[in-house]
């Protein structure tokens, strides 16, 4: 049985301008120890998917569908039940490490609190475990860090603390929402190395949300590409990069300049603008930006199964060979 089973997850928000459909019927499974990447641009619904899983949607948000964690339904769970799962079996780290920590509490108190709450440890035992965890995420001088406040630490150090906090109770699932986006490249590379290490050493499954295809390439086993709250494509990481089957995936891969390839004159930008969730085109949501769009795209394609367990939502049987590839 999969660790996490998400079925037909829908998230919408009531706003003064109308109902915003952020996530429109997402399905995926996550196995123990697996790292799944949720990829997409702003407005693709990747963060709202994650927040819905653990009941952290904003007040005007509603989630429907089913999210089963170890067979237990999370949607509709009471807050008191949820808070026993959150932080112990499922934990989450956020994009902005500094503002995700409590500025009024020392690092030590914040870590100890997790263990005394979820594991009923005594303070001394909790402190020892916390220091051990800080060591494991390679934070220098853990004992001294325990006495410090978040503002005394750099962004990279705070993110290590967040990761340590997320892993304190050895969760089955770690949700990481753009964990390195706010960090400098050299620090980003440290944190990614750490995440890869942790994923190898433990059986913790990771749901990694990011827009950075380089990070996906380094860390994920499988990838789900989202656009305007819909699943566009799902595949094993190597297959997705070597042979994208959806025009949006192809567009994303082609639009980034790459250090490992010769420079090209112009970048293959995806035309148009990111989707406006109040006004998503009917049919395929990507059709108004798609270079291959045709008549049939006015109907929403199924998220259909392809060979090798891949899935895609597109009417095209195969992507045409582009000039660059043929050239």
């Amino acid at each position: 049985m999969a660790l996490l089973e998400v079925r037909d997850l829908t998230v919408s928000f009531d706003t003064p301008d109308g109902v915003v459909h952020a996530v429109n019927g997402i399905n995926f499974d996550l196995d123990p120890g697996e790292t799944l990447g949720l990829v997409g641009e702003s407005g693709s619904g990747k963060t709202q998917t994650a927040l819905a899983l653990i009941g952290l949607l904003a007040e005007n948000g509603r989630a429907s569908g089913s999210v089963k964690f170890r067979g237990q339904e999370l949607l509709g769970m009471s807050i008191s039940e949820l808070s026993r799962v959150r932080g112990s079996k499922i934990s989450m780290i956020f994009q902005d490490p500094i503002s995700s920590l409590n500025p009024y509490m020392t690092i030590g108190d914040q870590l100890v609190e997790v263990l005394t709450y979820h594991r009923n440890l005594r303070r001394r035992a909790a402190r020892e475990r916390a220091i051990e965890m800080l060591n494991q995420v390679h934070l220098s001088d853990p004992k001294q860090r325990m006495r410090q406040y978040p503002h005394e630490l750099s962004g990279g150090m705070c993110q290590r603390v967040m990761i340590a906090m997320g892993l304190l109770c050895q969760p089955d699932l770690l949700i990481a929402d753009e964990p390195t986006t706010a960090l400098d490249v050299t620090v980003q590379s440290q944190i990614n190395t750490l995440m890869a290490e942790l994923s190898e050493q433990s059986s913790t499954a990771i749901l990694l949300i990011t827009h950075d295809l380089g990070v996906v390439a380094g860390l994920c086993h499988r990838v789900l590409v989202m656009y305007a709250g819909q699943e566009m494509e799902m595949a094993e990481v190597k297959e997705l990069f070597a042979d994208p089957r959806h025009p949006y995936t192809e567009g994303l891969l082609n639009s980034v300049p790459r250090l490992d390839k010769a420079r090209s004159g112009i970048l293959n930008a995806i035309p148009g603008n990111p989707p406006n969730l109040l006004d998503i085109p009917s049919g395929c949501p990507f059709s108004n930006r798609c270079r291959y769009a045709f008549e049939k795209c006015r109907e929403l394609p199924e998220f259909e199964q392809l060979d090798g367990g891949r899935l895609k939502r597109c009417h095209l049987d195969a992507l045409p060979v582009t000039e660059e590839e043929a050239g």
């Binding site: 400098d184 490249v185 440290q190 639009s255 300049p257 250090l259 970048l267």
Partner: protein, 342 residues
């Protein structure tokens, strides 16, 4: 590039900030050397990329060039004339020739002005004699040039997406026919698909209008794509300057090398096989920089001598500049001595 005289010459430019670090009975002041004796040139119709991580002083450098912060020391010569000697009145005239594009596309547009007014404002400032009709025509032409519709002239910034707002920012910068445009992280707030549109637009306009660009960014792949030459900064100082291909194929400074190795490659096979020498730690506090070479506390190749004095920018063959006392050994294939980096 060309043997002609550079349009912009920056020499030994330093910008210091005095910060109050508290104290009970009297204030304690610290000096932050945000930009510390930086020198470089920009040639006509050339793009100079400036890269570095947050806090390295790249934005302060941009602001100092435009006269938006007062440098402590140094020279910013525009076509041979030192801008730092000019009074406010004459500096304003020069600002027509040097324009800026900002990072936050919608935050840098006044939400209560229409797009037409936003783009027209610099024209009214610099060309007070232009008639309303001339201004309108010029603004509409500009909107078209940056890929917006001339009919959108009466709309407000909130009606546009981030990428479109950046196009408006570009139109505003270019409407007065500048010769140099300083772009401070112009695409980092945008989604990747939109980033590519804006990068293409900037490159295209540069060619059409023969602009010089200073392109400041932290994304090394984007900088490689747009720049002719690249300057790398660390903690307020220039550590390396070279033409684009040499800096990416053959970085000579250990920091440049580490930066390039840190960029994740969107290819799962290559990315997982890459040998990486991750840098340890974080950038030191600019309030209390290390003695000697500022990079030595994180440098895998640092030796005792690196603490003694600040390495000068040495000119190598083909005009590239490097500030490292061990760059020759590095070029000869020196391995990292510290096992932590292996």
């Amino acid at each position: 590039m060309s043997a002609r005289r550079p349009v912009l010459e920056v020499r030994d430019l330093s910008v210091h900030f005095r910060v109050d670090t508290g104290g009970v009975f009297r204030h304690n002041y610290h000096t932050i050397k945000a930009v510390d004796r930086v020198s470089f040139d920009v040639n006509a119709a050339e793009t100079l990329g400036i890269v570095g991580e947050s806090g390295c002083g790249k934005s302060t450098l941009a602001r100092a060039i435009l006269g938006l912060v007062r440098p402590q020391d140094g020279r910013v010569a525009w076509l041979g004339e030192n801008l730092l000697d000019l009074d406010e009145e004459r500096m304003r005239g020069k600002r027509r020739e040097i324009q800026m594009i900002f990072q936050d596309p919608s935050g840098s547009l006044d939400p209560r002005m229409t797009v037409g007014d936003i783009v027209a404002e610099p024209l009214k400032t610099f060309f007070p004699s232009m008639s309303r009709l001339q201004i309108r025509e010029r603004v509409q032409g500009m909107l078209k040039l940056v890929g917006l519709l001339p009919e959108q002239i009466n709309r407000y910034p909130h009606e546009f997406s981030g990428g479109q707002c950046q196009r408006i920012g570009i139109a505003r910068a270019l409407v007065v026919n500048p010769r140099l445009v300083v772009c401070d992280e112009p695409v980092s707030a945008l989604d990747v698909s939109i980033q590519a549109q804006i990068v293409n637009l900037l490159k295209d306009l540069q060619k059409k209008l023969q602009l010089s660009l200073i392109f400041i960014a932290h994304d090394l792949s984007v900088v490689r794509h747009v720049s002719d030459r690249v300057l790398v900064m660390y903690l307020g100082q220039v550590v390396e300057v070279a033409d684009r291909d040499s800096i990416y194929l053959n970085p000579r400074h250990p920091y440049t090398r580490a930066l390039i190795e840190s960029v994740p490659i969107p290819d799962p096979v290559k990315e997982r096989e890459r040998a990486r020498r991750s840098l340890k730690g974080d950038m030191p506090s600019p309030m209390n920089p290390p003695s000697g070479c500022v990079f030595r506390t994180r440098c895998p190749y640092a030796i005792d001598a690196c603490a003694d004095q600040r390495p000068g920018l040495e000119t190598l063959d083909s005009g590239r500049l490097v500030a490292c006392i061990r760059h020759r050994e590095l070029a000869d294939g020196l391995e990292a001595p510290d096992p932590e980096f292996a």
